[in-house]
Each structure stands twice: as structure tokens, then as C-alpha cells.
């Protein structure tokens, strides 16, 4: 009898420790910053597209007044050397901003 009770007690302790541990983990997680989000089209261009399109891996795409819908389609489907980009990487709203940024004729070279 006694033996079983202390056995149960040990199991209880283990479960308690498990939950405490679980709480300790989530507390640590809560302290940290929220997930990443893009600021604007220019940022996405600089941190993804420019690495290819500004160094002749891909053709120049800025200042060509490419239709926004076309840009969005190329980004989502990829094209030969260009990988496709998922909504998980560039969400739909950010992609719209990016396409506007690229197709807009800017005064800068």
C-alpha cells in the first residue's frame, strides 16, 4: 500500500515538474519580440530582389513601368533562374506595395 502511494507521489512530482518546465519555457518565449514584418516595398526590393536584379543575375526591373499584376505573377510563380516567393515570405499586402514600388517611375536612377 505504502509503496504504491509513494509511487503515485513520484509520478505526481514528475507531472508537476513537467508543467512547471512548460510554464518556464513559455514565459521565456513571451519576453521576446514579435515576428518579422516587412516595412515597405523598398525594403523588400533591397533585401531580396536587388541581390539579383541590381547585379545582372536578372534583368533590371525598376523604372520600366512593368505592370504590377505581371510583377506579382512573376514573384509568385518564379521564372527559370528566379525562385518563386510564397505568401509566407512576402505576404499579399507587401507584394502589392513591392509591385507598386518597382513599377513606379522614380526620379532616381
Amino acid at each position: 500500500m505504502k509503496k504504491t502511494r509513494s509511487g503515485n507521489y513520484i509520478v505526481g512530482c514528475i507531472i508537476a515538474i513537467f508543467f512547471v518546465a512548460g510554464n518556464a519555457w513559455s514565459a521565456q518565449d513571451e519576453k521576446t519580440t514579435p515576428g518579422f514584418a516587412w516595412k515597405d516595398g523598398a525594403e523588400i526590393y533591397a533585401k531580396i530582389c536587388a541581390y539579383c536584379h541590381d547585379v545582372q543575375v536578372g534583368p533590371p526591373i525598376r523604372n520600366r513601368e512593368l505592370p504590377a499584376a505581371y510583377i506579382r505573377a512573376v514573384v509568385r510563380n518564379g521564372r527559370f533562374a528566379m525562385p518563386a516567393f510564397r505568401a509566407a515570405e512576402i505576404d499579399d499586402e507587401s507584394l502589392t506595395k513591392l509591385a507598386e514600388f518597382i513599377s513606379r517611375r522614380s526620379t532616381q536612377p
Binding site: 519555457w25 509568385r76 527559370f80
Partner: protein, 514 residues
């Protein structure tokens, strides 16, 4: 009848799949459960020479928390729906973001992208799966942490979790990435959450500083595997050195690879050259500077004569050895003397530093990779043939000159048989070399696509027949490679799979494990 889904998991009825999707929608918001052709388009493009239909997913789930993932695996167990895990999903040339088998649901963790901790003093990071190298790079810069990343050539768009879980490599002294991994959090198929190593102990603060923990070391079984879903990942970062000296050494003859390897091995093993050196063939570097169509037209692989013209026109060696020294200026000066003496002996080597090569686009991107700076210049490779077809052929070789020459010759011979070029490099590990060949072909050309498939198959067959194993492979050839490692390993892998994931819901087919 119009179909509701663009594909279904093997052996799952539309009715059951419907029920599973409805349940996923209760766990995730509606816009995080993707099922339409338009939403799934970015998961379908691969560079492999097989029909896209073979790897079309049925859905994609964009989970952001451990709790969501626990609920997802419960639903998968209930309906026997298989999921394919990706972190940043840029496994380009190895299967991209597409699942191993048609109909698998992609569990896309890109949005689970918090940098949980970067410790300046102990030089480690703890991140979620969706963190990219670019994100971490910016974070380190912003917080002035003085730490360097080691990353693969797709740097900016890839991430440390996916890359290391597939046992990828980079180019700094921390280039063999899994060596520098320290502690994982893994959601198991039964929904339990395991923290490996010291992370298993409540309130421990040594999870990211001591790898081994107590008892059998488990981290390895979650790499190139389908035994769990990694949701947190710790790894060590390199303190920024006071000085950095990248250089390239060029050689003019293919046979010189013997001398190169014999010279480098002792320097690498003793640590004089600390980083993952690359010995790149002219055809690996040429696309950064030259167009194939300016040198050859018509079918067949590029003749040696044209390669020599490219070398001359674009100041390339047939072999281009990229390496770097790191440390204080004094340390670098001493080691530079050792390096130049070693390579100077035969009189065949041409040694160039930033002074001579600062304008050379190949040197520039290689130097960036060796100091953990973002670049995607290596994607020029896909402009060589055009048409977007590519598979990495990646056999492991001893770091011994005679062996590298043998592997190079055999690869070149088989590629030529199928009219393909040798775009190869050797990445020098501690005692091994990852022989990396980009099997480039035009995926819009059905004949060339077929040839590429057969060529890759023959490469695997011939190499394994000689005892040369492949370190990693695209999702169309995983079973074939698993077979080359023999029945006992396969059986052990299967035994572990049965124990950890009896319903086979996690990435069936990964590394040939089901």
C-alpha cells in the same frame, strides 16, 4: 465534376481530407490554410527533371506557434494526412518548397520567425524556423553584436534552421553548419515537445552552450530526417575577427587539382586556413562573367577548347581556390607567409588578393560568402544553360588529390555522355570534400530534361559502385541514395520511424524513410 483540391494525399479520400482541412482552419486563421491553385503556385516550381505533378502539394499550412503545430499533428494522426516541413523553403536544387510526394500538405514555418536570443558574450543564437540569414544579419548589425554568420550561397533568402537541418554548408570557419548546432526544440508526431541536450532540464541555462546533454545524443536524428518538427534551433556564431584576408589561387590545368588538394589538406587540418575553402572549376565561376552562347551553340557539352577561351577572356583559372585568413593582423601575416610558401613551391599557382581582384565579380561574391555577407550572385549559374533546370550532385570525397581527380574525371565523362557541362566545385571540409556539381539543363527542352534525369541516375549508380556516397540529394532521388547506404541503415531508420511516428504523418519519403 470540379475538383476541390489540386492534389490529394496518397490513400486519403476527399471526404477525409475535407474534414482535416476544416479542422486545420479551426487551428489556424483562414488565410493560413492554403488550398487554391493560385495560393499553392509558389510551392510547385522545382528545378528537378520530373513532372511538377509528382510533387504538387494538396495544401499548405502557415503555422506560427508550437501549440498550433501540436494541434496540427493531432489532426494529421486522426486523418492519416502526411505533412512536409519547410522552414524558409529555399531548398533550391534539392526540391525547393515542394513536398517529396504528390499530395503531401506543406507545413510552412516561414512565418514562425522570431529571433529568440542572440548572446553577444557566448556568441550563440536561438531562433525559430522562419528566420532568414538576412533577418539575423540585420539584427546583429542593428544591435552591434560583432558576430558573423556562416551561410550557404542563397544567403539572404534561406535560413539557418532549414539549411542546418538538411546538413548544408557555408564558407567561413563555421562552414560545416551542423558542427555548430547546439540545442533544438522538436514537436514529435505524438504532439510532445522535446528539447534536446541541456534543454530537457527545467531551468537549465546551458541549452545553447553544451551540445551533448545526458545519455544518447539526439540532435543528429532530427537532421535530414522525418522524426520530428524542429521549432527552435540554437547554434554558435563566430566573433567578428579584427582582420580578414580573402584570396584566390588560380591554376591552369585540370590535373593540378591533385597538387591543390595535397597543398591545402595540411593547412586546413592544422587550422592555418580555417575556413571551408572552395576549389571551383572555371565552369562554376564562368556564369558570373560570361555567356555560354558566346562560346558554343548547338547540343553537346562545352568543349575544353571553349573553356580555355573563357578562362583567358575572363581571367579565370581552370581551378580557382577561394580561401581566407581570419584573426589579428599579426596572425594573418604569419599565416599568409605559410600559405604563400606552400602554394608557391611548384610555380604553378597564381595568387591574387583583394588588391588585384577587388573588381572581379566572382572574387567579390566569394569574399562575401567567406565573411558571411549577403549575396545571391551565385544564381548566375542558372543563366548558363537557361531554362531553369538544376540538380546538385553532391558526392563526398576524401581530401586527397588522387581521389578528387578521379571523381572529377568520372563526373565529367558521364555528364559529357548526356551533353551536359561540368559545373563543379569542391568544398573542403575538415578531412573530406563535398564535391558539388550543378547538373544544369534546360527544363523547357523535354529531350534535355530526360537526358538530365538519366545522367543524374547514372552518376549516382556509378559513384556508389565505387564506394562514393552522396551527402544530400533532391527529393526525386532520395530512395535511390538511401539504397546505396545498404539495408541495415535503412532498417534502423525505419525502426526509429515506426517508434516515433507510427502513423507515418511526418514527411514520408525524406531520405528514403517511410
Amino acid at each position: 465534376m470540379t475538383r476541390k483540391y489540386i492534389a490529394l494525399p496518397q490513400g486519403v479520400s476527399e471526404k477525409d481530407f475535407d474534414a482535416a482541412i476544416n479542422n486545420f482552419r479551426k487551428v489556424l486563421s483562414d488565410d493560413a490554410v492554403l488550398t487554391s491553385a493560385e495560393q499553392l503556385a509558389p510551392y510547385i516550381k522545382t528545378m528537378m527533371p520530373v513532372p511538377d505533378a509528382d510533387h504538387t502539394p494538396s495544401a499548405a499550412l502557415l503555422a506560427t506557434t508550437v501549440e498550433q503545430i501540436q494541434k496540427i499533428v493531432a489532426i494529421c494522426n486522426q486523418y492519416k494526412v502526411p505533412i512536409w516541413m519547410i522552414s524558409t523553403g529555399k531548398n533550391l536544387g534539392y526540391g525547393s518548397a515542394a513536398p517529396a510526394e504528390r499530395g503531401q500538405v506543406v507545413l510552412d514555418l516561414k512565418r514562425m520567425n522570431r529571433i529568440l536570443e542572440v548572446d553577444k558574450d557566448l556568441a550563440f543564437a536561438l531562433v525559430e524556423p522562419g528566420v532568414t540569414y538576412q533577418q539575423l544579419y540585420d539584427y546583429i548589425k542593428e544591435h552591434k553584436l560583432g558576430l558573423w554568420l556562416s551561410m550557404p550561397a542563397p544567403s539572404a533568402i534561406a535560413g539557418p534552421v532549414g539549411n542546418t537541418l538538411d546538413r548544408g554548408v557555408g564558407y567561413t570557419p563555421y562552414g560545416e553548419h551542423f558542427l555548430f548546432a547546439c540545442g533544438m526544440e522538436v514537436v514529435l508526431a505524438n504532439g510532445e515537445v522535446l528539447r534536446t541536450g541541456m534543454g530537457s532540464m527545467p531551468n537549465s541555462n546551458t541549452w545553447q552552450v553544451f551540445k551533448w546533454g545526458y545519455g544518447p545524443y539526439l540532435d543528429g536524428i532530427f537532421t535530414q530526417s522525418n522524426y520530428g518538427i524542429v521549432t527552435k534551433f540554437g547554434f554558435w556564431l563566430m566573433p567578428e575577427p579584427p582582420a580578414f584576408k580573402p584570396f584566390v589561387i588560380q591554376y591552369q590545368h585540370e590535373e593540378d587539382i591533385v597538387e591543390i588538394v595535397e597543398t591545402i589538406r595540411p593547412l586546413r587540418i592544422s587550422g592555418v586556413i580555417p575556413n571551408a575553402v572552395v576549389i571551383a572549376h572555371a565552369l562554376y565561376e564562368a556564369p558570373v562573367k560570361a555567356k555560354r552562347s558566346d562560346y558554343v551553340s548547338g547540343p553537346g557539352s562545352i568543349p575544353d577548347e571553349a573553356v580555355y577561351r573563357i578562362m583567358k577572356d575572363h581571367k579565370l583559372g581552370i581551378w580557382n581556390v577561394y580561401a581566407a585568413l581570419y584573426g589579428t593582423q599579426e596572425q594573418i601575416d604569419v599565416n599568409w607567409k605559410i600559405v604563400t610558401q606552400a602554394f608557391g613551391q611548384s610555380g604553378k599557382a597564381k595568387i591574387l588578393t583583394e588588391q588585384e581582384a577587388a573588381e572581379d565579380p566572382a572574387f567579390v561574391y566569394r569574399a562575401k560568402l567567406m565573411r558571411g555577407e549577403m549575396t545571391l550572385t551565385e544564381f548566375s549559374l542558372y543563366n548558363w544553360r537557361g531554362g531553369g533546370g538544376s540538380m546538385w550532385f553532391a558526392p563526398v570525397s576524401q581530401a586527397r588529390g588522387s581521389e578528387t581527380l578521379k571523381q572529377m574525371a568520372l563526373t565529367k565523362q558521364i555528364l559529357a555522355k548526356y551533353g551536359l557541362d561540368y559545373s563543379g566545385e569542391f568544398i573542403v571540409g575538415m578531412r573530406d570534400m563535398h564535391h558539388i556539381v550543378d547538373v544544369l539543363y534546360d527544363k523547357t527542352d523535354p529531350e534535355q530534361t530526360k537526358a538530365a534525369y538519366q545522367c543524374f541516375d547514372e552518376l549516382l549508380t556509378e559513384f556508389s559502385a565505387r564506394g562514393y556516397g552522396t551527402y544530400r540529394v533532391n527529393t526525386a532521388f532520395m530512395d535511390k541514395v538511401a539504397e546505396t547506404y545498404g539495408p541495415v541503415q535503412r532498417k534502423v531508420h525505419k525502426t526509429l520511424k515506426k517508434a516515433l511516428d507510427p502513423n507515418g504523418i511526418l514527411a514520408p519519403g525524406k531520405s528514403g524513410i517511410r
